[in-house]
Symmetry: C2
Subunit: 393 residues, 2 copies
Amino acid sequence: MRDVVIVGAATTQFGRAQWSLLKLMAEAAHGAITDAGIERKKIDAVYVANMGSARNNRQAGIASALVDRMNLYPVAADTIENGPASGASAVKNGFLAVASGMYDCVLVVGGERMQEVNNFEATEFVSYLSHRFAEYIYGITLPALAGMFARLWMQKYGVTSEHLAMVAIKNHANALLNPASHLKMPIAMEGLLHSPDSAMNNPFVADPLRFFDCCPVSDGAAAVLLAPADLAKNFKKTPIVISGIGQATDTQAVHERPDPTVLTAVQTASRKAFAMAKLEPKDISLAELHDAFTILEIAQSEQVGFFPEGEGHLALERGVTQITGKLPINASGGLKAKGHPVGATGVSQIVELALQLRGEAGKRQVKNPRHGFALNFGGFGNNVVATILSKGA
Amino acid sequence: MRDVVIVGAATTQFGRAQWSLLKLMAEAAHGAITDAGIERKKIDAVYVANMGSARNNRQAGIASALVDRMNLYPVAADTIENGPASGASAVKNGFLAVASGMYDCVLVVGGERMQEVNNFEATEFVSYLSHRFAEYIYGITLPALAGMFARLWMQKYGVTSEHLAMVAIKNHANALLNPASHLKMPIAMEGLLHSPDSAMNNPFVADPLRFFDCCPVSDGAAAVLLAPADLAKNFKKTPIVISGIGQATDTQAVHERPDPTVLTAVQTASRKAFAMAKLEPKDISLAELHDAFTILEIAQSEQVGFFPEGEGHLALERGVTQITGKLPINASGGLKAKGHPVGATGVSQIVELALQLRGEAGKRQVKNPRHGFALNFGGFGNNVVATILSKGA
């Protein structure tokens, strides 16, 4: 298996796009190509991560459409879908394409234009990830699953609404330092917990989760360019090594898990990624976790292996996960505030790690990072991809 | 790159399914597992080919859902979408996963349940493959593109309606020998060309293409199990080698091609597959081509390299492409009569070749085949995957 490196990385502005899904994807792709400083004709294959274009944007075969939009034909092109973990799955498949020796230069683009349908439709669409006969037909949504998960977590570990709010406050603050982020809005504890009378209206979405515990519905795209390590010297930027990838699935219906607070797929995917990278959680300099809901950042920070069971919210309290802390989590703003254009998210996590490891993360730069960890969480944790990036020797 | 072989293959009945997409996929998957004679726990990763579950079946993350349905978690699982070429793209990505050394035993399942929406909706859905701003918004459909393509082909090469009908008649006859086929209905020249007064009503769908020139809208699933060649001795069936894979893209809008009768992506994908397999068209014992419309079998039979330009319909006339001919094409019945459950089609072509190369194709068995060729055609030829399978030494 050949070593694979990231030689280019870029993201669009996340938020409410005024243009088409293809234009968003092309912008991110051109950004990654420019970043790498290569000729487009060097590209051998394209992987596109997208969850909903056939349903929400009336476009199927979106990878083929992107290749046409960018005049990249006749390169190979496929679309990878793995719900909200589509992005990391596409990077994984791009990695395999290079690692196998079949292709050299592979472009991976994740993108989603959620706001072509309204927010109610977006929630309905995302609920297609739930179990069709055990969950969906009874009206479950992803926020509802996350609400029940949060309630269990609070009861089991003493997590409070203040802890949830701390995640949101931290990630909104980080997003202010990220030009590409969707939400650029500082929030404070006072405003969050005293609705609806306070200045900031923060109603319940799915008790105990409030509006500011949930990520926004975003449009956006992100892209990385992959190449074999031995070709990396031909590119402009410091190559960043994909040192570990782990993927794991779990039961689709959450109530079928022996303990619904245990995200087995998070644990397994992380363990596999660490084993492949020959690293341990303590070696990680920064992490991008999948905080579609604030509780998930706390839960994942433990189950990836960064903090002992029941102590994720204590580490958060102590500031360990701040950009200046020992293990910065979601320096980018995370899904919570950078935004969550579903197919783009996993790729954008990897873009963030690559920029951080190169020292190009601007005002949100983490000090001297060596290894970065990304967790992309599909369904309600039924398909999880963990990716570890490392600075070259 | 490790050599990769097919160790198990199976298909469901194609047609109008009485059950869910997941049940169809699970049936094909269990078939391939049983065929290989392995323990399910040997499976490391699952690739699912599907085009429309999020739009037509209210299910996203269908690969994760299948893993749950089959109790295969925690294996890795991703969905691959490449329009009507999703199946071959999924086999390609399964191939890369094994070839890279990352996974040993990989299950590839293609499936589609088209009839959960009605036929008008199915045609609308498939038209999402056309160029959104240059084709789709003007009301183009895939049958309309194929009709214009057929008209050009008839003018250029002297192909007649009788030639188109010959493809349909041959493939309907072959499908009668295939228990899994959707259409089990012999047709004859007389009935096809004298509608609406004849016994068989065959109206125009998109002039010059008539009803019997178009594939049906089918439900179905197919699956193959892949493994590295050096592990193949542990399995029950004769391993079939994936000896060549080629993929190529083209402009999305058909009118942008210098000559719309030239399917450049078919030519390029085929050339790449032959180069990888170190074979030539004359070495191929049988082919499964993508006859979603009858004209496509004739066009592809030339542009893959089997017959000289403008002579595909002459070879057809002479019986060369019959099961008993020198180069049997669509012995399975093809998309035309076996059926075309979009995501399943590319996998089912490969299942057919594997069964033929093993000598297990029953009444439609081709005599002593050595190498089989499959062409899976995405969009209107804007993303094409060619796959060559070979009998082991």
